[in-house]
């Protein structure tokens, strides 16, 4: 059974990663819980109010923020997906030869078109 052997090899490689995630998570939670039991707790309304340079906090902190952040987030999603598409191409570069190179040149040209469009539209400006 080549299939089950492959699966075992796969699991053998990924199991330590899973174990690492579990241990890191346990480290975080256990340290927080231990610290919870040894720390002093003297809550006061003054102490619990949020920091605002000494003055009384006014209005809700979850206020509207500039839409620029959204534009950059959207640009990131678009471009990052294009970058992810470059990875399989880069890894197999020497196997796919000239055809792969030309295809990727076309792909990067499309990337550049989108990039130039975003630049000309002023989406990359921050003011």
């Amino acid at each position: 059974m080549a299939g089950s052997e492959q699966l075992l090899d796969y699991l053998g490689r990924y199991f330590p990663v899973l174990l690492f995630i579990g241990i890191a998570l346990a480290f975080g939670v256990v340290t927080l819980v231990l610290s919870y039991f040894v720390q002093p707790k003297y809550p006061e309304s003054e102490k619990l109010s949020t920091y605002e340079c000494g003055s009384e906090p006014f209005s809700d902190a979850r206020m509207p923020f500039p839409v620029r952040y959204y534009i950059f987030a959207m640009l990131f999603v678009i471009f990052d997906i294009e970058v992810i598409f470059l990875y399989p191409w880069a890894v197999t570069f020497f196997k796919i030869g000239l055809v792969g190179l030309i295809e990727m040149l076309i792909f990067i040209a499309l990337f550049v078109v989108a990039y130039v469009y975003a630049w000309k539209k002023g989406a990359l400006e921050w003011d």
Binding site: V29, Y42, L48, A90, F93, W126, D127
Partner: protein
Amino acid sequence: MAELALRMAFSLAQITVVMGVIMLTIMVLTLAERKVLGWMQDRMGPMEVGPYGILQPVADGLKLFFKEDIVPAGANRFLFSLAPILALVAALIGFAVVPFGPDTTIELFGIQFKPFIISDINIGILYILAFTSIGAYGVILGGWASNSKYSLLGGLRSAAQVISYELNVGLAIVGVLLLAGSLSLVKITQAQAGWFWNWYVFAPPFPQLLAFVVYVISAVAETNRVPFDLPEAESELVAGFFTEYSGMRFAFFFIAEYANMILVSCIAAALFLGGWNAPYPGTALARMGFVQFAWVENVVWFAAKVYFFLFLFFWLRATLPRLRYDQLMRFGWKVMLPIALGNILVTAIAAYLFPR
């Protein structure tokens, strides 16, 4: 069954050692940063706790552990607690695929182990990129959950900055992946064996020097370090997204920042500077006849490269003033991105014309 149990026990031991070494390195780094900054400014740095202040990190850690953990009124308690753990875990688990030493195999109780590699998965780089992105959630959730204006603004700034520069990190390493033909950090390091001109930063047919510079600058920006420490700009935002954090939760954000610094240094060393490889073929120890101790030299080389980058972080902090936010975004999107993209194009064409 016994084999499986042994393998699990060995993985567990490896992970424990790696976590211990990371924590120890973070302790050393917190002191080293203050000492290096102090010396660069003609000061002594911390001197009070222990001889020459070497016990300062222990004192800091104990203090934070026993400190009151304040949850501000109006904060979202669940997200407020989740955010630091998320940041910490995301920063630590990247080390699962970093090769700390040569991929030599040792035999213990009849089973083959690789002592310096926790896991050699064939998508190592992708795994690291994916999980370090989760760290951005920790930052923005912490900023939003605090119910403080400074925290919210710091979290937003940080998220926008991290994703902008992550794009450049992703683009900068494509050239290396192309030359190595693999996403596994072990294979990429093996491909750079031999003299130091085989390291991808110098390697023919097209040296990845530009990609290296883009990667290092983007890595500094991604870890929110000076001169890109806008999210925690003291003069504007108090402490940014962790303004309201105290005690152990504050310590987690702190540990996460330093763990991220170590991680990006490890990746830079493995991708561009040959990882565990010495600048000369093989190892000096193996040539002198101590073949079984050759790993010591490899591990020392890897550590030396990582510490070189960590020193660079401190050096930058002592040298450069903080950028303005619009300068930071413009630099990332209009300067770094075209350079990284151009590097991919030139590397691809050069690699096609002059295959090795």
